[in-house]
C-alpha cells in the first residue's frame, strides 16, 4: 500500500516528504478531526444513540453539522444508520467495526486531553 505515512516513519532519507498533500490519509484525517468528528465518534463509542440523544451529548452542535458529520462518517463506513419507519420516526446511530477501531484510537487522546487541558489553557 502506498500510503506515505506508514512508509516514512522509518525516515528513509530519500523519500521527498513525510506528509504529502495528495494522500488519502489527509481526507480521512480531515473527516475524523473535523470540528465535531471526534466528539461524535466518541459519543457513540459506548453504544448506539438516537439522533436527539446525540445532539444533547455533543453540546453545541447544530442540526446541520450533526447531519453532515454523520453522513460523512456513514459514507466512510464508520457509522451505521438504522432508521425505523415508524411514526414518530426513530433513528439509531452506532459505530461500525471500523468506526470502533477509530474510536479506540481516539480514546487515549481524549483521556490525555481531559487530564491536561486545564493546565494548558491556563498557561
Amino acid at each position: 500500500m502506498d500510503v506515505s505515512f506508514a512508509v516514512s516513519r522509518t525516515r528513509p532519507g530519500i523519500t521527498a516528504e513525510k506528509y504529502p498533500a495528495d494522500c488519502p490519509t489527509r481526507t480521512v484525517l480531515t473527516h475524523i478531526t473535523s470540528k465535531w468528528g471526534v466528539l461524535v465518534l466518541l459519543s457513540l463509542e459506548q453504544g448506539s444513540l438516537r439522533w436527539g440523544e446525540l445532539r444533547r451529548e455533543v453540546e453545541g452542535i447544530s442540526e446541520k453539522m450533526l447531519a453532515s458529520t454523520l453522513r460523512t462518517f456513514e459514507a466512510d463506513g464508520l457509522v451505521n444508520r438504522d432508521a425505523q419507519p415508524s411514526i414518530p420516526p426513530r433513528v439509531d446511530y452506532s459505530l461500525t467495526p471500523l468506526g470502533r477501531e477509530a474510536a479506540l484510537r481516539l480514546l487515549p487522546l481524549m483521556d490525555w486531553i481531559a487530564d491536561n487541558a486545564e493546565a494548558m489553557v491556563a498557561r
Copy 2:
C-alpha cells in the same frame, strides 16, 4: 479536576451531557485537531526540525499557517522554539515533554488511518 470528559466516561446518568460546550478540552482538542496540528506534532515526534524542514515535511502548509500553528502549540506548552541569533537565522522546533505525550497518543491514530484510509476513500 472538573473536566467533564473524564468524569462522564462512567455514564453517571445524572450528569447533563458528555461533552459540554464550555470546557477547556474543547479548546485543546481544537488546537491539536486543527487542520495542520496533527501533522506538525507528528513531524516533530522523531526529533527537532528547522522551520524550513517543517515546511517541507508538512507538504501544502503555508507560512502563515505554519507560524500560527507553531505559536499556538508554543503557547500551549507543546512545542519549544529555539532561535539562534545568527545570520542567517536558524530556528529549531521540538516537542516539549507535554508535546511528546500528545504526539504519542496521535501515533496510533495516524498509523490506523494510514492502514485504512484507502479503503475508506475508495468506498
